[in-house]
């Protein structure tokens, strides 16, 4: 409710409806995701100039590698959160696929078979989530807390305490390498391609439209002929598949298949998505905002680490950023609303 009120006071006083386009642009510029976008660019610029070694191409590669898992998992996660659900099991799915990858490798399968197989395994994890949530109608937060434990547990069942490390160099090297040894990391292509696909699907297709409708009012979406359950189901499958893919990339990047790979990553992803302006209640948010959120977090952490800021302080920075990113726009709207009311009263008393 407060959101509706907020939005209405976003509208500028002097603009008449026919100036719609101008106001629309203006309200876009002050929207949360654009603020994050601007902030991200700002941080990148300031850090390049003031932090030693930040702007180097090698550091760029490191940064891209650091944000790779978060950004990829955030793509489907954004959609899921937009529909008002959540998937906390992604990091465990990642761990399970990593384990499976190690186990299959030890069984003598070829890596070219293993990689697609792992994506399928991730997708199967998603199928289980999707079935429990849409088939049985259980709350997603509860279900994915359960599968968070389940998938991680299965990862340990598969690989136990071992680690598998002897993956082929041309694959592990590709993940950490750059295009032609230059400044552009190989995995950046993957990120760009996937981000484009997800961005277009979310923002410019009927399917994407339906996600917002589902998140804001699932019943009305159902009455509009949108297959709510089916849509959510597939989102979980995609989320699982992407987590599986990230499991593969993670394993190759660290040349180490382990059951505990990526543990705790789910909170980082959720934090990044929220930072990017997606409403946890569903129905609101944009992918560019989320991408900016991930980059902002990673860049800031990277810069602060180079400046020898301790890990603990990084925690505080991350946390504050998360709160402030939502708090500040709210405060500005409130202040603007007050100003608006004062002006009206003055106008009336004149």
């Amino acid at each position: 409710m407060s959101d509706t009120l907020q939005k209405s006071s976003d509208i500028d006083l002097d603009k008449r409806p026919e100036n719609g386009r101008a106001t629309a642009i203006k309200s876009r510029l002050t929207s949360w995701d654009s603020i994050i976008l601007v902030l991200t660019v700002l941080v990148l610029i300031v850090a390049s100039f003031s932090v030693e070694n930040f702007g180097t191409s090698r550091n760029f590669t490191f940064m891209v590698l650091d944000l790779l898992p978060i950004i990829l998992i955030a793509l489907p996660m954004t959609m899921i959160i937009v529909t008002g659900e959540i998937d906390l099991s992604v990091a465990s799915t990642l761990g399970l696929t990593s384990s499976m990858m190690g186990w299959l490798w030890n069984q003598g399968l070829s890596i070219e078979t293993i990689i697609p197989l792992c994506v399928v395994i991730g997708a199967i994890c998603g199928v289980v989530n999707g079935f429990l949530i849409t088939g049985l109608g259980l709350p997603s937060l509860a279900v994915t807390i359960g599968t968070l434990a389940l998938y991680r547990g299965l990862a340990f069942v598969v690989l136990g305490d071992g680690a598998v490390a002897d993956f082929p160099w041309n694959y592990t090297g590709w993940v950490t390498g750059t295009i032609g040894g230059g400044a552009v990391p190989n995995v950046l292509i993957l990120i760009v391609v996937l981000a484009l696909i997800f961005g277009i699907v979310q923002h410019a297709t009927p399917f994407g439209r339906s996600l917002y409708a589902i998140g804001a009012n699932a019943q009305a979406a159902h009455f509009s002929g949108i297959r709510v359950a089916r849509t959510k189901f597939w989102l979980y499958v995609v989320s699982g598949a992407v987590a599986g893919l990230v499991g593969v990339l993670w394993t190759l990047r660290y040349s180490s298949a382990r059951a505990d790979n990526g543990s705790g990553l789910e909170l980082a992803v959720v934090a990044a998505v929220l930072l990017g302006g997606v409403s946890i209640f569903g129905g609101k948010g944009s992918l560019p905002g989320v991408l900016a959120g991930v980059v902002l977090l990673t860049a800031l952490q990277n810069a602060l680490r180079l400046e020898d800021v301790s890990g603990q302080a990084l925690n505080i920075v991350t946390g504050s950023l998360l709160v402030l990113s939502v708090l500040l726009p709210n405060i500005t709207t409130a202040v603007r609303g007050n100003y608006h009311r004062r002006r009206l009263r003055q106008a009336a008393s004149r």
Binding site: S9, P17, T23, A204, P206, A213, N217, A220, F223, A348
Partner: protein, 497 residues
């Protein structure tokens, strides 16, 4: 002295000036009507009196003293009870708790006295003649039942001022009469009543005075007895209107919809009827008779246990709204807030939601095509709005209803199901909607109309299917249908021969 006074009050939302310099008093012992077109600012006045909105300028006075409500709690403390246009219940709590919230009876240990609370609720329901179980949760109540609980809630607080924003919109004649009896007795005990409705017969039946608003401005406050209905409408709309638009006679075409033996356990049983092209078939019945449920099952948003739905002779897959839509069906649901609209999305997105797939080119959607489609239909329905990109939740109730109509008419249906299509719509637009339905029928559209408003049913329908307690009680042709015959069938008495 006026119990409550609105003095030169204004309120705007961004660019929309919803209320501009309105003043009128509300005296104890009087029932005061507030009328105006959709979006005239009635609900905004109510919300200011309730402490939800703060007036931008102007003052509210209680017993002659200026007040400044910081929130609904203050208004409540001042003895103002409000029934909002949209029900505001707590779905997880029991009906009795909903009614008692905030002033539950307490035991000596300051614990809630549940027994007493339930007894109170039962007492209220008896007074209103409502057969509701106070211990059941509010979730799943029909719109009408919700409205009744709202009424009970307002009555329970023994307020000095009772404000009712379209409390009867979802009710049928029987409940309305019972409500009026209770309200009259309150008025006679000295409460001040403010009543908002788009039905003029209700206003003349209940109210002594009326305040008319147009475009956020005060037009007049007069004795109801001094004004004819036509006078009221003229001042409200600014021109003459015929309140109801009778349906043109059309030669019915081929059968479009056939429903055979449709049953759903505990909800409806063995429902059969058919609709032809060019025909308007009305589903009548008392509130809770199961009319909405039947049509939702037909459209596929609800499941059913047995029976067949055929469109153009082809059997429809059950539980699949998309299949129904593909067959040319459209359903304008009764609850626009929960079922009809996505309040947070813009008007244009809402209008194009069921058609997004058709508007897409190469699977991609471009803003322009959506906007154009939305523009056409909102204009046809004379929707009062700021920008198409505004959230639909910012529109007035009636204009929201128009957006729902636009959304479904834009799909170009062959079979249109409308559930309470004119609920909360003002007279002018109502005539417009009726004319539209009639002309669409003339072009060969088959229409099923669920309505609790008998005049509407009688005026518009070629045939009337009367439901009672989930079964078909009677099928009446236009010639057979009179107010009495429909009511008798709905209530389970034999039609007087």
């Amino acid at each position: 002295m006026a119990r409550l006074e609105v003095h030169d009050v204004s309120k705007s939302f961004g660019a929309v000036a919803a209320v501009q310099g309105v003043s009128f008093p509300l005296y104890p012992g009087e029932a005061h009507a507030l009328v105006g077109e959709n979006g005239a600012g009635k609900s905004t006045i109510v919300k200011m009196l309730a402490g939800v909105h703060r007036p931008d300028t102007g003052t509210l006075r209680v017993d002659g003293a200026d007040v400044d409500f910081a929130g609904p709690a203050d208004a409540k403390a001042a003895g103002i009870a409000v029934i909002y246009q949209e029900p505001t219940l707590f779905p997880d709590l029991s009906v009795a708790e909903n009614i008692a919230m905030g002033n539950q009876p307490l035991t000596k240990l300051r614990q809630i006295d549940r027994k007493e609370m339930h007894a109170n609720a039962e007492r209220l329901f008896r007074r209103l003649g409502v057969p509701l179980d106070p211990t059941r949760p509010a979730r799943g109540l029909s719109i009408a039942d919700q409205q009744l609980v709202e009424i009970a809630k307002a009555l329970s607080s023994e307020a000095r001022v009772l404000i009712m924003d379209e409390p009867t919109a979802a009710l049928s004649a029987v409940e309305v009469e019972r409500l009026f009896a209770v309200v009259r007795s309150l008025r006679d005990e000295g409460a001040a009543i403010m009543f908002i409705s788009h039905r003029f017969e209700e206003i003349t039946a209940l109210c002594e005075r009326v305040t008319i608003m147009r475009d956020g401005k005060h037009v007049a406050t007069e004795m109801v007895a001094d004004l004819s209905v036509d006078d009221m409408i003229r001042r409200m709309v600014g021109r003459d209107l015929s309140a109801l638009f009778p349906k043109q006679d059309v030669e019915p075409g081929a059968v479009v919809l056939e429903v055979e033996g449709l049953s759903r356990e505990g909800v409806f049983k063995d429902i059969s009827f058919s609709v032809r092209a060019g025909e308007i078939v009305a589903l009548a019945g008392l509130v809770g008779a199961g009319r909405s449920e039947v049509m939702q099952a037909v459209f596929g948003v609800d499941p059913y246990d047995s029976g067949v739905v055929k469109v153009h002779g082809r059997r429809l897959k059950k539980g699949e709204p998309r299949a129904a839509m593909a067959a040319g069906m459209a359903l304008v649901p009764e609850d626009r807030r929960q079922q009809g609209l996505v309040m947070d999305l813009s008007i244009e997105r809402n209008v194009t939601l069921p058609r997004a797939r058709k508007l897409a080119r190469l699977g991609l959607l471009f803003g322009g095509s959506e906007r154009a489609a939305a523009e056409t239909w909102t204009r046809k329905l004379q929707t009062k709005l700021g920008r198409l990109s505004d959230a639909v939740g910012t529109l007035s109730g009636g204009n929201q209803q128009k957006v729902v109509l636009a959304k479904w008419l834009a799909t170009g249906p062959k079979l249109l199901i409308v559930d309470e299509p004119t609920r909360g719509i003002d007279v002018g637009t109502k005539a417009e909607v009726h004319r539209l339905m009639s002309s669409l029928a003339a072009d060969g559209l088959a229409v099923v109309m669920v309505s609790s408003e008998l005049p509407e049913v009688l005026g518009m329908a070629d045939r009337i299917v009367v439901l009672r307690e989930g079964r078909v009680a009677a099928q009446l042709t236009r010639a057979e249908a009179t107010e009495e015959s429909v009511m008798y069938a709905a209530m389970g008495q034999e039609v007087a021969a």
